[in-house]
């Protein structure tokens, strides 16, 4: 910082520093937790749009609303977006679990922290793949 901090915000460390880290798994999952959190905001917007589409169709304000929503949400590109959102959401979910474990004061040994980071990352990916595998296997999603 070039000039002395003068506001309360100036005392905060700027993190995560994307440029200064040498790669290690806890640094990677930390950055990923932030990225997946931001990506999940898109998911919240999509689900809110789904609810609005149901509401507008059911109330008669805009009877085509649900069809319009599906024309995006059920399209191949829409499915690709949903896949990305479930991946981000599940990684953020398991990452959040990792943070809650650390917040309880557990798993701070470097080997434990690394293991937790790996398990949460792989767990999030596994949940996503399982979710979509079952969707395809039950015929709910067809390409």
């Amino acid at each position: 910082m070039s000039k002395p901090p003068s506001t309360e915000a100036a005392y905060r460390p700027l993190s995560p520093h994307l440029q200064v880290w040498k790669f290690h798994i806890t640094m990677f999952t930390s950055i990923l937790h932030r990225a997946t959190g931001i990506a999940s905001v898109v998911g919240a917007v999509m689900v809110a749009a789904w609810l609005l589409a149901i509401g507008l169709t059911a109330s008669g304000h805009c009877p085509e609303a649900y069809t319009l929503f599906l024309s995006f949400a059920a399209s191949p590109f829409g499915l690709f977006v949903w896949f990305g959102l479930t991946l981000a959401g599940f990684i953020h979910l398991t990452g959040g679990l990792r943070h809650l474990i650390w917040d309880m004061g557990l798993g701070f040994k470097i080997s434990s922290a690394n293991a937790l980071a790996w398990w949460s990352l792989l767990g999030g990916i596994a949940l996503t793949l399982a979710f979509w595998a079952v969707l395809f296997a039950t015929g709910k999603v067809v390409l």
Binding site: P5, A9, A44, L52, I54, G55, L56, T57, G60, G139
Partner: protein
């Protein structure tokens, strides 16, 4: 240099943060715990509703328990989102009041859209 600022500040503010200041930190944790269960329920429900069409979606939202859980999920999600996005604003644009205000407006808007949709569907 930074250290001396921290000492000045903590000497002055110590009494304050002794009583409060953990509120947002705790809110981040409690919303996380709640959302762990609520989003798993949402994923399970989404699995059930996938490819089942409009009528099934409407019937789902019209069940009072589902409508309530959806509303709760959105209130907590947007609260959690507001805190999370604010952490980003404060880290990368520490002096921007505009971005913090935009974040608040955005989160309130998404919440209003979701609650409005639930209300319209539930009432219809």
């Amino acid at each position: 240099m930074v250290d001396s600022y921290l000492k000045q500040r903590s000497a002055k503010d110590w009494k304050k943060s002794e009583k409060h200041g953990a509120g947002e930190w705790l809110a981040e944790r409690w919303t996380s715990v709640a959302l762990f269960f609520l989003t798993l329920w949402a994923a399970w429900s989404a699995f059930g509703l996938a490819n089942q069409g409009y009528e099934a979606a409407l019937a789902f939202v019209k069940v009072p328990l589902n409508a309530g859980l959806l509303a709760a999920t959105f209130v907590i999600t947007m609260w959690h989102t507001y805190m999370g996005l604010n952490a980003n604003v404060l880290d990368y644009f520490p002096n921007s009041r505009v971005l913090r205000l935009l974040n608040l407006l955005f989160c309130v808007a998404v919440l209003a859209v979701a609650l409005g949709g639930i209300y319209l569907a539930f009432k219809a």
